[in-house]
Amino acid sequence: MSRDAVDVVIVGAGPTGAIAASELIAAGFSVTCLEQGDWIPRTEFTGATPSWELAAQRRWHPNPNVRGNPADYPIDVSESDVNPLMYAAVGGATILYGAHWVRALPSDFRVRTLDGVADDWPLTYPDLQPYYEELDRQMGVAGLGDDPSYPPTAPPPLPPLPIGKIGLTAARGMDRLGWHWWPAPNAIASRPYRGRPVCVRRGTCQTGCPEGAKASADITHWPSAVEAGVRLVTGARVQEITVDERGLANGAVYVDRQGVTHRQPARLVILAANGIGTPRLLLMSQSRRFQEGLANSSGLVGRRLMMHPYAAVNGVYDEDLESWLGPAGQSIISTEFYETDLARGFVRGAKWQVMPSGGPLGNRSGYHGKADISGDGTVPDPLAGWGADFHRDARRSFGRSFEWGIIAEDLPDPDNRVVLSDTMSDSDGLPSPKILYRTSDNTRRLLEFHLDRAREAHRAAGAIETHDTPLMRDCGWHLLGTARMGDDPSDSVVDQYGRSHDVPNLYIYDGSNFVTSTGMNPTATITALTLRSVRHLIATSRQQEVAL
C-alpha cells in the first residue's frame, strides 16, 4: 500500500526525529514520521509503586534483549563486550534515559590535532554553542552556570536540582582533593516549565518519570509537532529506504503491526533511528546502485561503533545519606580527569557523575555485570550476603552508599561495528543487527586509572568501604559513530549537516554522526547537531536536490 508523497519522511520518533519534525513542520514542509514503537502513557511507569525495583529488572530494563517488547528487535551480542541499550517508542531512548544533559568539551572536536589519535570533527564547539543553548531552553535544563569546564555560555534556564546528601558528601571529598566538581545539569524540571511539573526526587528517572518532570521527547516536542500537522505513525517498522533511478532516496517501506507492508514516498528522507538502528537500515537498503548498503561508498556504514564503556565505584558511608532519593539524573559531576594527560599512560579521559543507589535491591539490580563484592578479586563464599549477612549488609549500605560513575571515552575502531546477522531476525523477519565490539587497551588503562581515582574520591569523602564495578556489560546507552560525519566522502558517510555524501537527499540525525565519542552523555550534542543540521537543511532547501 502506498501513501501520498510528503516532503520529508523521518524514521524514528526519538528526540532527534522530534526536533527535526518540529522545525520542518514549522517551516511549511509536510512531514511523516515512522516509529516502530508506540506512545507510552506515564501511568505505565512503576516508579511510584512498591513493584518498581522488580519491574525495572525486566519490563523497564534498557536492554531490548532483556525486555523483549513487541517493538524491540533482538540484537546479536555474542561477539560484543558491551550490550547496546535503547528503547523503541515515541520519545525513543529519552523515555528511559537519565536526562544527564552535558555538552561535549572544545577538545572533543579536535582529538586528532590535540592528541594525535582518532579524527577531528568537521565543526567545533563554538559552531554548536548557540544550538546547545537553545536546546537547554527547549528541554528545560536545570543546572548552574559558570562551570569552568566550559567556555562562557548562557546559564541553564532552570536552577539546579538538589544535590542531596550524597552530592554534598561527594563534593566535600572532591574539595579536600582539590578536584573539579559541579552541580550536575539535568533535563529535569526544577521549576514548573512549559507544562511540565517540578521533579519530586522520586529517583526512578531511568524507568520512566511518572510525574513527567523529566524531559522526554514525547512531552517536550511531539505533542506540538503533531498538533502542527506532523503525521506520526506508530507501530511502523521500516525495512528499507528506497532510491530512484538517479540514486535519490524516494521513500521508506515499512510493515505495520498487522503485517501489512506500506510505502511512504517522500522527497527527502531523514534517519533518526540511533547508532544501531540507522546503520542496520542502511545495510538492509541494498540496491543495484548501492550493493554494500545505502550511502555506503566509504564502507563506513556500521563501522567505528563507540558505546562508552562504563565503570563505577560504589562507596559505603557510616551515615544516613538517604541515597535512594533522586534525581537519577545525576547529583554532581566532575571533569577532573577528562582531558588527556599522557603521563597517565593513555589518551582521553572520562566524565564522572554521582548517582543515587536505588532501593534495597540496589541500582541496576537487573543489569549484567556486577560489582566485585570481595573487593580483592578472590572468590567469595557462595552464600556470602545471605543468612545473617543479608540484614547486616543491608543495614550497613542501604541509604548509606552512592556511586561515582565513570563514562570512558571510547576511541573509534573500524573493527567495532554493526553488521546484519546471518542467524537472528526480528518478529517481521528482518535481519537483526549483530554487534562486533571489543574494548581497547587504551580503554582498559583508562578505566583502571579512573577506578583508582574514584576510590580515592570516596575515601576523601569518608567512605568506610568501596566496591568496584570494573566494566558493566549493560552499559551501551550511547550508540555512536556508525555513520560518521566528515568532509571527505572517502572516509565519512555524511557531512557536518548530516547529509549523505552519496545520496544528496538522505540525512542522518542521530549519534551515528559522531566522529569521536567524547566522554560525555551524548544527547545534548546529538540534539544540538540535529537542530543545527535541520535548520541548515531548511535554509538551503531551495538548492536541495529531491526525488519525486
Binding site: A48, P50, S51, W52, L54, Q57, R58, G68, L105, P106, S107, F109, R110, R112, T113, V117, D120, L144, P148, P151, P159, P162, I163, G164, G167, L168, D175, G178, H180, W181, P183, S190, R201, R202, G203, T204, L325, G326, T335, E336, E339, T340, G359, P360, L361, D381, P382, L383, G387, A388, F390, R392, A394, R395, F398, G399, L411, G486, D488, D491
Partner: protein, 158 residues
C-alpha cells in the same frame, strides 16, 4: 498492593521455599524473617508476575531444593552446592526471593526505606556554594582547541 493469584505454588513447593528462606533471610538486626512476613505466600506470586521470565528457572530451583532434606544444616549445604554448581540458577532464584521480601511494607519500614517517595524540592545551593567558589578560583578546566583541524585520517591509531 495485593498479591496476584495468577502464580500459585503447591503446598509442597511452598514448604521448600520456606525452608530455603529460613536459611537465606532469617530474622535479625531488627529485621523480620522472610517467613514472618509470609514472603512465600503473600509476595512471591507478585514477584513471579513481575519477573515471569524467571518462572521456569524458579520452579526448577525449588524442585531441585526439594530433593534435599529440609533441616537447616542440610539446606545450608544444599544451597552452597547449588550456588557453586549452578550459579545462574541460584542467582535468578535468590534475587527473586530478595525482591519478594522487600515488597513487604513491614520490611521496608524496619529498614527505614519509605519507597521511592515524593519529596519537595528545596534550594540547597547555600550548603555548597562556598565549596564551588574554590572550584571557580582554580580557573578554566578545559583545554583550548584550535578552530582549524587536521584533515581526516581515515582510521585511528592508538
Amino acid at each position: 498492593m495485593t498479591s496476584s493469584t495468577s502464580t500459585t505454588l503447591s503446598t509442597a513447593r511452598i514448604a521448600v521455599v520456606d525452608a530455603v528462606l529460613d536459611v537465606l533471610i532469617p530474622g535479625g538486626a531488627g529485621m523480620p524473617s522472610a517467613r514472618a512476613v509470609a514472603t512465600t505466600t503473600r509476595w512471591l506470586p507478585t514477584a513471579l508476575d513481575l519477573r515471569s521470565d524467571l518462572r521456569d528457572q524458579f520452579v526448577a530451583f525449588v524442585d531441585l531444593m526439594g530433593t534435599y532434606p529440609p533441616d537447616h544444616d542440610a539446606m545450608v549445604a544444599a544451597l552452597r552446592e547449588v550456588a557453586t554448581s549452578q550459579p545462574s540458577l541460584f542467582a535468578a532464584a535468590t534475587g527473586l526471593l530478595a525482591g519478594a521480601y522487600y515488597l513487604d511494607p513491614v520490611v521496608r519500614g524496619a529498614l527505614g526505606y519509605p519507597g521511592q517517595e515524593e519529596r519537595a524540592l528545596l534550594d540547597e545551593t547555600g550548603s555548597y556554594i562556598d565549596l564551588l567558589e574554590r572550584v571557580v578560583e582554580r580557573g578554566p578546566a578545559y583545554r583550548d582547541a584550535p578552530l582549524d583541524g587536521e584533515p581526516s585520517s581515515g582510521e585511528g591509531d592508538f
